[in-house]
């Protein structure tokens, strides 16, 4: 029997990218870990009383305070003289991170706590029914950024959370993808080997909210990376230290498999805007694999 610290039997939807990523993260971190979790899908589907999926100490308090709760845990662990032995992870969804939890996260990063913060980015408030968040991409059709005769979806691009985290002068920031499990686990292991605050943002497809087939989760995640729409970057001490290079695919390949972008497919003008976002990412982060 395979040993995991995040057990099956939870109530996540079929094809949930967040449940896959959460298992990969905690298994990479190991049993000597305490997890503080914001309110959101993950906490709801993994801790329905009297059952739990968690094989490590786990605490859920509120929507926006996992970073502060983890700060208290880290301080307590330090007080108990176990600061070097125990990993502490604070984790949340994209809304819990980039919107309502941003202040608590900023405080945690600024204070220098030895905590790994993991943001599971499924690009909208999925737990409450697919409302847009600060990490919802441009032109996405959500229930609060609906498509209509006067709108082609979400008005704004994603908030640059990795850059915001990095601007706090912390030692490690990375983006990762549920579509690249070994890469994600390598980054988690690297993060916990570094003392101080760390931030990892994992792209996790949500078949329900993104309206893609449940067997396509991994493929969709990979397409986000391969189009340049979700750049995989590592920052160490403020400087980009690694990037995943790609042979860029056109953004349509990513958009066409998801219902949330269906309205764009007959609108080349809007697709061009999204291709521009990808092209800017490719240029900005140096993502293009040069022919040798």
């Amino acid at each position: 029997m395979s040993k995991t610290l995040f057990n099956s039997g939870h109530t996540a939807c079929a094809g949930c990218g967040q449940s896959m990523a959460a298992r990969l993260v905690i298994d990479a971190a190991g049993s000597n870990t305490i997890v503080a979790n914001n309110t959101g899908c993950l906490e709801v589907f993994s801790t329905k009383y009297p059952e739990t999926s968690w094989g490590v100490p786990f605490i859920h308090s509120l929507f926006e305070n996992a970073a502060a709760v983890a700060s208290g845990i880290e301080s307590a662990v330090k007080y108990l003289g176990k600061g070097d032995e125990i990993n502490i992870i604070a984790q949340a969804g994209d809304g819990g991170t980039a919107d309502i939890g941003l202040q608590a996260l900023s405080g945690m990063l600024e204070r220098g706590h030895n905590i790994l913060y993991v943001c599971y980015d499924n690009e909208a408030y999925m737990n409450t029914g697919v409302q847009r968040s600060g990490l919802t991409p441009f032109d996405t059709n959500t229930t609060t950024s609906p498509v209509g005769s006067a709108s082609s979806g979400n008005l704004r691009p994603k908030k640059p959370m990795p850059e915001i985290a990095n601007a706090h002068g912390i030692p490690y920031v990375a983006t990762a993808s549920a579509g690249l499990p070994l890469d994600l686990q390598r980054k988690v292991k690297k993060a916990i080997s570094i003392k101080g605050p760390k931030y990892i943002q994992v792209h996790v497809p949500c078949p329900l909210g993104w309206r893609h087939e449940t067997n396509l989760t991994i493929n969709v995640a990979k397409l986000a990376v391969d189009t340049g729409l979700y750049p995989l970057i590592e920052y160490e001490n403020g400087i980009i230290s690694a990037r995943r290079q790609i042979t860029p695919k056109p953004v349509e390949e990513y958009l066409k498999v998801q219902g949330r972008f269906k309205h764009l497919l007959k609108n080349p003008e809007e697709i061009k805007k999204i291709q521009d976002i990808a092209d800017n990412n490719i240029k900005k982060y140096g993502l293009k694999l040069e022919a040798s």
Binding site: Y49, P57, F58
Partner: protein, 393 residues
């Protein structure tokens, strides 16, 4: 040892003696002197604690939630808007059964913004599940912190406790305080041994999703524990008096109640003024008294019933409002008597001392005077009618 101390410094000193491992706070007037002093105590190496300077009261409460969940005694302090910003965390702490101890420097609520003392902040949080003590003076504030840790961390209770001290009046006032020694404190307050905690050798899930199948029982149990606290508080105060020599009931305190015909019910520092007025009026042969409520939560209804059932005329002083309804403490005092065999002839309700307006001896005498007449409902004392005449034109 007896020393002349500012209230905030006295509170900081008793917190030091209780040896919390984590302190987290965000500055707000008039709580600041308490946390500044604790920061200095930690900086001077006089207390081995992690002092976490957070970016909001929401995070201060969340930080101590996390540290107490690890089984480490913790402390925070706040006031007014800060208490309100903490509000959802405070309900959460109580529901999660984590014995956080907090000092609240009671202060008015905005708008209009006002930094002075009344009870609107703390009284508004009465349904949060926290045990809520109100101190009359600095000595009692000091002692209630010891009782708070002992009570909250008791395995049969496991609830957070808020010690309310009137902003400025007690936080910035000076008083001769009998500060206990470390030996005495250690004798009364054992180190905190959490019955459940975040521990990698015994992984538990805290704060799970609870559906309609189980939620009611979790909340029922919380309410039952308040009843158990009601029974435990007087036992703890007996032990307290054995160690420290000061006697409290911990729930209520009667002053000149024996043959009293007119009694004021009040909470907090105003009780000192009421006692002075009672002494003065007693000298003139007036049969007046005071019933002080120390524990607003749990609400000591049966104790209040016994204390007031034979009193002909009762006045309840509220330093807060429940806008659009009865003054909050008065409503609860009246509820004590509904359906009971005995009750006062009149229970009058007075609102006084909002936003730091002084409650003078004259204010208290006026209340006693008004008690000789008809029952009053939410009567404002010291109101300035001339200020109500302003118009927009």
């Amino acid at each position: 040892m007896k020393e002349l101390l500012e209230g905030s410094l006295a509170v900081a000193e008793i917190v030091r003696l209780c040896k919390p491992g984590v302190i987290s706070a965000y500055p707000i007037t008039p709580q600041t002197h308490i946390v500044e002093e604790l920061a200095q105590i930690v900086a001077n190496g006089k207390l081995n604690a992690q002092f976490v300077n957070v970016e909001s009261e929401h995070s201060a409460a969340s930080t101590v939630l996390g540290s107490v969940a690890c089984g480490v005694r913790s402390y925070t302090a706040t006031s007014s808007q800060g208490l309100f910003l903490m509000a959802e965390v405070l309900y959460n702490i109580a529901g999660m059964r984590l014995p956080v101890i907090m000092t609240t420097a009671a202060r008015a609520i905005s708008a209009p913004i006002n930094i002075w003392n009344d009870h609107q902040d703390v009284v508004s949080l009465r349904d949060s599940g926290w045990i809520q003590f109100h101190a009359e003076d600095i000595q009692e504030a000091v002692d209630l912190h010891l009782i708070a840790y002992r009570l909250g961390e008791d395995k049969s209770i496991m609830l957070p406790v808020m010690v309310c001290i009137d902003g400025f009046i007690l936080t910035h006032g000076l008083e001769t305080v009998n500060m206990p020694s470390q030996e005495e404190v250690d004798k009364f307050l054992p180190s905190y041994k959490a019955p459940y905690k975040l521990d990698v050798t015994n992984p538990l899930t805290l704060g799970p999703l609870v559906d309609p199948e189980f939620y009611t029982e979790a909340r029922f149990a919380l309410n039952e524990t308040h009843k158990e606290a009601l029974a435990l508080i007087p036992k703890i105060t007996v032990e307290f008096s054995k160690v420290f020599g000061r006697n409290y009931n911990g729930l209520i305190e009667g002053y000149q109640m024996k043959d009293a015909e007119r009694v004021i019910v009040a909470m907090g520092s105003v009780c000192g003024t009421v006692k002075d007025v009672v002494d003065e009026l007693r000298k003139k042969g007036k049969k007046v008294g005071l019933l002080k409520i120390t524990s607003l939560r749990p609400f000591p209804a049966s104790y209040i019933y016994e204390a007031l059932k034979n009193i002909p005329k009762v006045a309840v002083i509220d330093r807060a409002l429940s806008l659009g309804s009865f003054a909050p403490l008065a409503a609860e005092i009246k509820a004590v008597f509904f359906g009971r065999p005995k009750m006062p002839k009149t229970i009058s309700s007075f609102v006084v001392g909002l936003g730091g307006r002084d409650i003078t001896r004259e204010s208290i005498k006026e209340i006693f005077r008004l008690l000789t007449g008809k029952e009053k409902q939410g009567e404002f004392i010291d109101l300035k009618p001339e200020l109500l005449k302003e118009s927009y034109e």
